[in-house]
């Protein structure tokens, strides 16, 4: 079974700090990584391949340094990478990313399953999966918390807000996963060393045959840490000021009525 895993390169969000004066996120010198849920999707693909055979292909879109970041995914067990790179693909919006991914996937001889995370680490809009399924005319199963493949049949349990939904579909299908699906492996040093030698196919946007609209479909007017308007009352005298906190709780209508 050939499995495509779509991943996105982002800054490591655990290391993002906010510049207090300007409320801007500090993104310089922050290491790049693949999204956390992307790694869960990759982990699931590698586990499936271990059972069924075949290959795991990483497909991604981004600036040239993606070639370096993708090694992490190859070290985790993907067999090959297909990348669409170009300087202007830094911070590509969902609509364009979906078209480029679809174009890259269409160049593959065949695939049975597309896996990706339910949302990217940085933008988390959850659009790329459903857009990609629409472009490739595939059925979609989103928010999978477990899945199994039996012959050409895939069965998944979807985690929705209030309940679980078990669904079935025939391959090929696109599945987005939630982080609960597994614990992604951390590659060993030897795997990281070997990852550099795994095959990588690098495409340019011009190699993609799908028609892609000029310009952005979404414009960002600002992106700042929100202003917090809080009362900022601080009881500095320790436990003896506890009644102040209790009073505040009661004023908020909390606790026994």
């Amino acid at each position: 079974m050939n499995i495509v895993v779509c991943v996105k390169q982002t800054v490591d969000l655990q290391q993002v700090r906010i510049r207090k004066e300007t409320r801007q996120p500090v993104l310089e010198n922050i290491p790049l990584t693949l999204g956390a849920i992307d790694k869960n999707a990759l982990e699931e693909a590698v586990r499936l391949r271990e059972k069924t055979g075949g290959k795991v292909f990483l497909v991604s879109v981004g600036p040239e340094n993606l070639e370096e970041t993708i090694k992490e995914g190859l070290a985790m067990g993907a067999d090959e990478a297909i990348l669409v790179t170009s300087p202007e693909l830094d911070g590509t919006e969902s609509a364009r990313a979906a078209l480029l991914l679809a174009g890259a996937i269409k160049q593959m001889e065949n695939f049975d399953l597309i896996l990706l995370g339910e949302g990217s680490a940085d933008n988390y809009s959850g659009q790329v999966g459903p857009r990609l399924a629409e472009i490739l005319d595939l059925p979609q199963i989103t928010y999978a918390k477990s899945l199994e493949v039996d012959g050409r049949k895939v069965r998944a349990v979807r985690s929705l807000e209030d309940f679980l939904e078990e669904v079935e579909a025939e391959l090929p299908v696109l599945i987005s996963v939630v982080s609960e699906i597994n614990e992604a492996r951390i590659p060993a040093v030897t795997q990281i060393l070997r990852a550099g030698r795994k095959p990588k196919k690098i495409l340019k946007p011009a190699d993609i045959s799908l028609k892609i609209a000029e310009g952005r479909s979404v414009e960002t007017l600002s992106n700042l840490a929100p202003v917090q308007e809080r009362k900022g009352i601080l009881f500095k005298e320790g436990l003896k000021e506890l009644p102040g906190l209790v009073q505040a709780l009661k004023e908020e209508g909390v606790g026994r009525k």
Partner: protein, 313 residues
């Protein structure tokens, strides 16, 4: 007449969306329309201000399936002449939003927290960088698909019914995804995200046994215990389902009480939308005190039992 089309698989969310749509539509001269796949819903939307409800009772749309609903709504949007489509940003709403937007060649924003009109443009605010920032964005394409988060706007009250129901026959390709069964989520699982009151505990807690006092306080307050990431992933004192913040749940509680938590952005994004934030921490310089309404500088191990007793009265 061009229109705004409103849809969610949850009627209660449509009530919220209709209020917002009416406000926007009034300003830019768009008719207010909705889609419904259940006769009760269609009637209810008319009573809440929709001038037309496009309705279908075909077997294919009885149950939600994203690719079918995307086909259905694309056809309804065309019938309604809708340039702006408002959806509910639930998991189902989001999977529909992307697929529908692609079908309509539309720009799309999901998880939108607030929406307003500025110089004729629909301006949306949503979290970015995992919630560390808020992005203010506008869709540049002529067709726009916007998914608004639950509770982003007030539900419209019921009023007099003015509009009409338009029954449609939709051309739908059959679904390729079959629902085998629905089941309850793990009954032990708690819904941190939807909780009204959260008692959040962090690395300031010295021993796992002390979680008991945190539980008792949460119980007295009628809330749920949540935690910062290290307490679940490093110490494993609580399950990961209890994590609040970037790596966990982002809630909008009435009250978040933060105990022994320093308050870095990776945690605080999870409670930032709380109506009231309170904190107890030994460190007067802890970042958490910069985002709290009420703070107490004290050792949580001493303060918590006293607080519990005081609340129990």
């Amino acid at each position: 007449m061009a229109s705004i089309l409103v849809f969610s698989e949850r009627a209660s969310l449509v009530f919220e969306l209709l209020g917002k749509a009416k406000e926007l539509g009034g300003k830019i001269g768009l008719e207010l329309t909705a889609a419904a796949f259940n006769p009760g819903d269609a009637e209810a939307y008319l009573k809440r201000g929709a001038s037309k409800v496009f309705y279908s009772d075909q077997a294919e749309v009885k149950n939600f399936e994203a690719s079918i609903y995307a086909q259905a709504l694309a056809q309804i949007a065309q019938k309604a002449g809708a340039s702006l489509i408002l959806l509910g940003s639930t998991r189902r709403g989001k999977e529909l939003a992307g697929r529908l937007a692609q079908r309509l060649q539309a720009g799309c924003l999901t998880d939108v927290k607030s929406i307003e009109l500025k110089e004729g443009k629909v301006i949306c605010v949503r979290n970015a960088f995992g919630g560390a920032t808020e992005a203010t964005q506008a869709i540049a394409t002529s067709a726009q698909v916007i998914a608004l988060m639950p509770r982003a706007c007030e539900p419209t009250p019921e009023g007099e019914k003015k509009g009409e129901i338009v029954t449609l026959h939709l051309e739908l390709k059959p679904s390729r995804v079959k629902v085998v069964k629905k089941s309850e989520k793990d009954p032990g699982a708690v819904d941190i995200q939807g909780a009204e009151i959260l008692v959040c505990v962090g690395k300031g807690l010295s021993r796992q046994e002390d979680l008991k006092m945190i539980e008792e306080l949460a119980q007295a307050l009628g809330g749920l215990v949540a935690c910062s990431k290290p307490l679940a992933t490093d110490l494993k004192w609580l399950p990961e389902s209890r994590i609040v913040g970037l790596s966990g749940k982002i809630g909008k509680p009435r009250l978040a009480l933060c105990l022994g938590i320093s308050g870095q952005v990776q945690f605080s994004v999870g409670i930032r939308e709380a109506k009231t934030i309170m904190a107890i921490n030994t460190d007067p310089n802890a970042y958490i005190f910069q985002i709290t309404d009420y703070g107490l500088i004290a050792d949580l191990h001493q303060a918590v039992p006293q607080l519990t007793a005081a609340i129990r009265g």
